[in-house]
């Protein structure tokens, strides 16, 4: 398991998902808090490249032995790449949630949406207050 961290430079959604925004594209994953709450991830099926995701809507599921958790899109757009490696080795989500455990890459339909997400400091405060 990774050490708890919430890197600066990422944008965060209240459902414990992160986005790394680079111009008109973004990479998505789940936060350290989300993978810790779920426990060891044992199953993840990548969604299809080309499918649309909408901000705040579930686009995939991650499963531990005990539980299923929806993964929410922090931003809207079209999936242009998926991390097949996580489909093969779902434990990467626990081991490296912001690196090798990334889930999908999106071509953003509305890059301005990212202004509505939290920065790392605001997300840490959300976790402290909950």
């Amino acid at each position: 398991m990774a050490e708890e961290s919430y890197p600066d430079g990422l944008r965060y959604h209240a459902e414990h998902d992160w986005a790394r925004v680079e111009d008109a594209e973004a990479t998505f994953g789940i936060t350290w808090y989300a993978q810790d709450a779920l426990g060891e991830v044992v199953f993840y099926e990548p969604p299809d490249v080309g499918s649309e995701v909408s901000k705040g809507q579930a686009y995939a599921e991650v499963e531990s032995v005990k539980a299923v958790s929806d993964v929410y899109a922090p931003l809207s757009g079209e999936i242009v790449a998926v991390n097949e490696g996580v489909g093969e080795r779902p434990e990467l989500i626990n081991e490296d949630p912001y690196g090798e455990g990334w889930l999908v890459r999106i071509k953003l339909s509305d890059p301005a949406e990212s202004d509505q997400l939290m920065d790392a400091a605001a997300y840490r405060k959300l976790l402290e207050d909950s």
């Binding site: 426990g39 099926e45 005990k66 299923v68």
Partner: protein
């Protein structure tokens, strides 16, 4: 449920110290995992794990007609249970519906200890007490007398032998032995499919036994691993795989029923055995990706034919496994079905018990 209303076992502080994640379970605050479910599961399969199962209840039955009372209540033939022996049985209603599944230990000629599932303990005790009046027997709720540890795995006996004095009992037998500075009822039973023992000891003696077992090499294991271990070997979980609406024949528990003893429900069980049942509990394994979950619908030839009662990702087999009630004609190893997992049809195959077999 508010955490404050949950009961705690004598090992609560030890669980916190070991980094446990505690969850509500049947009215108790219990460790679901420590370091991680997968490693704990594999520790039991390859070495030794120790579980706190102090949430399980105990009922003591004693007196001149204790055996006759238990023969009336329990599905198995209690007259075959010798002093120092252990026996598995179900407790049935008149209509054969299962009230609980339990292990009974014969402590003396006229004294028995029955271990109940935590969620059913109160109801079981009431049931025992309600029928005791017809017999010269006493029924006592002994839940406060005992903590219970399950030490399971291929190295469990060697590890327990290091902290106990005297010879450990063989499988399905018991022995009262000094253990970690106290006295314990050591039982050659368990619910993981591995060799090992269960320890019944005084609540105040539980912490020192727990520490001694861990110091001798046992890995603390939580209820999460206990569930995956029992499902891999197709042991039933009450409330999931059977309840008062299922009889032992359809649940696949006919092997622990001796209808000729005349236990409550025996006529219904005999009728089900004789006439057959519509459904049968059957183990299955997904042939591809996915994790089946309780409540998922079983589909055959495009029709809903049953429901999953237990399902998980098997840590040993790395596949989705489970048990489901299906029509008897489908409950044959090799039958192909699909499990509807949240809208995705996952191909599965009915298997024989157990799903997990030790390499021999």
């Amino acid at each position: 449920m508010a955490t404050a209303s949950l009961k705690r076992t004598p090992l609560y502080d030890a669980h916190l110290a070991a980094g446990a994640r505690l969850v509500p379970f049947a009215g108790w605050e219990m460790p679901v995992q420590y370091e991680g479910l997968g490693p704990e599961h594999l520790a039991v399969r390859t070495s030794c794990g120790v579980f706190d199962v102090s949430h399980m209840g105990e009922v003591e039955t004693s007196g001149r007609e204790a055996e006759a009372l238990l023969q009336r209540l329990l599905s198995n033939d209690v007259s075959k249970l010798e002093v120092g022996g252990a026996q598995y049985a179900v407790l049935c209603q008149d209509d054969g519906g299962i009230l609980d599944d339990l292990f009974t230990y014969r402590l003396a000629d006229d004294r028995y200890l029955t271990v109940t599932n935590a969620a059913n303990h109160g109801r079981d005790y009431e049931w025992f007490a309600a029928h005791a009046g017809d017999f010269d027997a006493d029924v006592r709720d002994a839940i406060d007398d005992y903590a219970m540890l399950a030490v399971q795995g291929p190295k469990a006996r060697a590890i327990v032998a290091r902290v106990a004095e005297g010879e450990l009992p063989p499988r399905m037998h018991t022995a009262r032995l000094p253990l970690a500075g106290a006295e314990a009822l050591v039982c050659g039973t368990g619910y993981t499919g591995e060799d090992g023992v269960e320890l019944l000891l005084g609540p105040r003696d539980a912490a020192s036994a727990w520490e001694a077992l861990i110091a001798s090499g046992a890995t603390p294991a939580g209820l999460g691993a206990r569930d995956t271990l029992r499902l891999e070997v197709c042991f039933h979980l009450y409330g999931n795989d059977m309840d008062e609406h299922r009889n032992p024949i359809e649940a696949g528990l006919g092997w622990c029923c001796r209808e000729e003893t005349g236990f409550i429900g025996s006529e219904a069980v005999a009728a089900a055995r004789e006439g057959g049942t519509e459904q049968q509990l059957a183990p299955f394994m997904l042939t591809g990706p996915g994790i089946p979950r309780p409540g998922n619908v079983v589909v055959a030839d495009g029709r809903d034919v049953g429901a999953v009662t237990s399902g998980t990702m098997s840590p040993s087999l790395k596949r989705g496994i489970g048990m489901a009630y299906v029509p008897v004609e489908l409950a044959e190893p090799g039958a192909e079905v699909e499990i509807d997992v949240r809208g995705k049809r996952r191909p599965a195959r009915i298997e024989s018990k157990p799903l997990y077999r030790k390499e021999s």
